[in-house]
Subunit: 307 residues, 2 copies
């Protein structure tokens, strides 16, 4: 089933107004921000990833969605399939570390027994509070597009996790990504639209433009890269394109009017205008879009319209 | 990993007070009741079950947990693995019917792509409102134990789904169980403890007693059976034991003081006393407990103490 078939199906279901038409990564009910993400072994994490890092990622991807709403974590529900006791133990040890690091308690959940040999499918649902809750859909023509930090480190780290030689800080960026909760709270009440960069900068920028009914132009030369990334992959156009289409960075992407000075470090990478679609420039020169703007493995979270 | 190992692990995690020490099937945060259940193909449903019935069950098991808190459904989050388009379409058609039947909208969720041949693992998280939210732990010595309706129909229906010959109403009781939302709301503010009967009457009664720090004695002769069940399986002791240890009935089990007159149909099946554990009688005659009190496939939902 392709994304538009699935969208048609889901849009026939009765929908809750707090779900924002399923166009955002989080819903708002009774003042609580709700988000949920599922990770599938072999799709969202490698079977060889250490279990504690999988636990970290499961929490981080959800807290990153809370960060994009400017929320403070209230707690999580965990749906966990028990399988190999050593793996399970290492997972829970890692989860304990991740929960404490982010001051996020467990509210509840469900554990099931996984039949032998079945793939692990892990779900976590996060609740947040005190959120200004900017949506993905609120960008306005004339707004500038910003991102809170370097892009591409996790993508380079994934290649290292798969066997490429590279520095440990990039591997760590993939395995222990940081949800930008502090930045999200500082920005939440002031920006027109915000989302995290989970599936690729170009894809997430295109989604924000589409959800806002606008065109966005992104300047590849302005995309921030870390010193470690540049040392490892260079800052040539191909390396910038790789970074801008890789996933798992969990920086925040936001739209704000000209003149807005972000209270946290951020790089201005583009602007919104009337129209539709994403256009790419490199220091003023128009570039054709790459074939893949990012990872579409999770087309609907809840439901993201196709860019 | 056995249940007590898992309990030890989970109890070392930071816990949210709304999770009630993970001793209940639902948590309370900001006035919302939260519950989540995961169904695994081959464990909680048969690969041959019609997809629409799996959707119904996924919703019903969660709404049954809301019913046990006396809550009204606010909405659900769905974590769904896309696999075979025909199966997916039939699932969503069934989900649409089930959601409308229970006036329950979709708030959000996440869809992932399931690798070819992987087992389906489905998660749904339900939110409820306006709940008196009696816990599983509140039974008092001297309380009577009640159940809202016939037990065993779904267990007999599961045997029929597996190939046994039997009447369609029992198969329907397994495939289209009814969460007792009306009964839950009527009882919620008045009873000392309540849970649903999802994993077997004896097991769920033993869990309520254990969570409340009490002993419970259950009279097998008083367990209500439906006319269809009696016609199919008889009401002999073995048939009563089968019914009392089968799962998926989703009646409500509650503890209330002597003299309480339930405002909805209910059968009085036992009583609580100081002490520990479950004892079984059959019209006054003590019976040894069967080896299995119910299905422990879902030992922690969130976390149920071992009986």
């Amino acid at each position: 089933m392709n994304e538009s078939d699935l969208l048609s199906l889901l849009r026939t279901l009765p929908l809750h107004p707090g779900g924002r038409g399923l166009r955002d990564d989080a819903a708002i009910v009774n003042g609580l921000v709700l988000t949920t993400d599922t990770l599938v072994e072999g799709v969202h994490f490698l079977p060889t990833d250490p279990p504690g890092d999988v636990a970290w990622k499961l929490l981080a991807v959800n807290l990153s969605d809370l960060a994009a709403k400017g929320a403070t974590p209230e707690g999580v529900l965990l749906n966990y399939p028990l399988s190999d006791p050593d793996w399970d133990r290492a997972f829970f040890d890692g989860l304990d570390i991740a929960l404490r690091e982010h001051a996020c308690p467990v509210i509840g959940g469900d554990t099931v027994t996984l039949p032998r040999g079945a793939l692990r499918i892990l779900t976590l649902t996060a609740l947040g509070r005190d959120a200004a809750a900017p949506s993905r859909t609120g960008a306005q023509a004339g707004d500038l597009l910003w991102v809170t930090g370097p892009i591409g480190d996790a993508g380079a780290g994934l290649a290292i996790a798969r066997g490429e030689t590279g520095p440990p800080e990039l591997l760590r960026a993939y395995r222990r990504s940081t949800p930008r909760l502090v930045e999200g709270r500082a920005l939440g009440g002031h920006v027109h639209a915000m989302s995290d960069v989970s599936d690729g900068l170009l894809l997430d920028a295109a989604r924000m433009a589409d959800a806002s009914g606008l065109a966005v132009t992104l300047d590849l030369a302005a995309v921030p890269l870390s010193p470690a990334y540049i040392a490892h992959r260079s800052d040539a156009r191909a390396a910038r394109l790789f970074a801008s289409t890789a996933g798992d960075d969990y920086q925040l992407l936001f739209a704000a009017p000209p003149g807005y000075v972000p209270p946290v470090p951020a790089a201005r990478i583009g602007d919104f205008a009337p129209g539709r679609g994403l256009a790419l420039h490199d220091a003023g020169e128009p570039l054709p879009l790459p074939g893949m703007l990012g990872y579409e493995h999770s087309p609907l979270a809840p439901v993201r319209p196709a860019p």
